[in-house]
Symmetry: C2
Amino acid sequence: MCFLERGYHQTGVRDIAARAGVSLGNLYNHFSGKHDVLVKFAMLERQEMEPFLKILSAHSPAPKVLEKFIGAYAKYLAVPENVILTLEVSSEAVRQPDIAQLFIENRAELTNSLSTLLQRGTDVGDFRKLPDPTQAAQMILDVLEGSAYHSVLSEVPMRKFAGSVKDFILSSVLPR
Amino acid sequence: MCFLERGYHQTGVRDIAARAGVSLGNLYNHFSGKHDVLVKFAMLERQEMEPFLKILSAHSPAPKVLEKFIGAYAKYLAVPENVILTLEVSSEAVRQPDIAQLFIENRAELTNSLSTLLQRGTDVGDFRKLPDPTQAAQMILDVLEGSAYHSVLSEVPMRKFAGSVKDFILSSVLPR
DNA sequence: ATACTATGAACGATCGTTCGTTCAATATTG
DNA sequence: CAATATTGAACGAACGATCGTTCATAGTAT
């Protein structure tokens, strides 16, 4: 997809059609307009989160699950296309309410699962008592995605960050 | 500035000129083109970081300094314009190398100062031993900026997040 | 008179979208 | 079964709008 190479606003509808292998006119038979293409794409992102939801719902010890999730999500974010597409959607979300809602909904699935895991860990004493597990879940994702962004920008492979990311996140939730 | 309202690519040169109170043609006497306007703007962001550098270089106990920095930076990020402009520059940086370099340089000033503070805290036992203080500094900023972004998107005031953000960050660096 | 800045009309390019047309597949006839 | 009618996907030329940029002209201060 060419949103990745040129960005949403830089990409013409002709580019999209050509890349998709359909004609300009035909694209409008499948999508109601350029905006709709972005919406459908944001929807696709939701499916990509499914493997992570599965990981998070495992019944293993919470710290083990968290560690596995961090590894898997970091691996997903090691692919620059995934990072750039997320950034693209994020920056559109600021100004387009329907994109914002999609983004928030997608995000909520992940944070809810992660938050539940954190809560479960706290209950059995594996994690410290968090003032707001949902917030903590958000911030864990932010750390991962932020690192992925810096990885793309500075052209340092995400793998180089993996260690300190895992260390940072675990330290913030493990009991003192 | 109208980059904030409509985004860089959505904003026409005519909008920029009108908002700046100069004529279309005259704008080209001050900037070499639209891209140059963005570059100059990214440069302005650097100055805005100065107060935070000052805070970080204070000689008080490291945890106190860190806490003060978090509060100040969170307050800065409580202004949506600041968040949106940062996001705007971030998403341009992915595809425009000169913006990327500016962004990285601006960022480096902050992370270096913060990293030095973390190191200082570790040396006197106020902070735990961090595997990579620079990385940790990056992630601390990511947590703050990520929360600010969610605050803008979900229209929840940043202030509501301040508590758990501070808790999260401190927990990740304080000794266990 | 000279050297500047300021102006907005004009330019070519490209934007997102529309629309008339083609055409192969399907349904309906006789 | 053959002939005809109907459908809807595919196409790309064309449209009006807007894009970033240029430039001839007008204004201003020295």
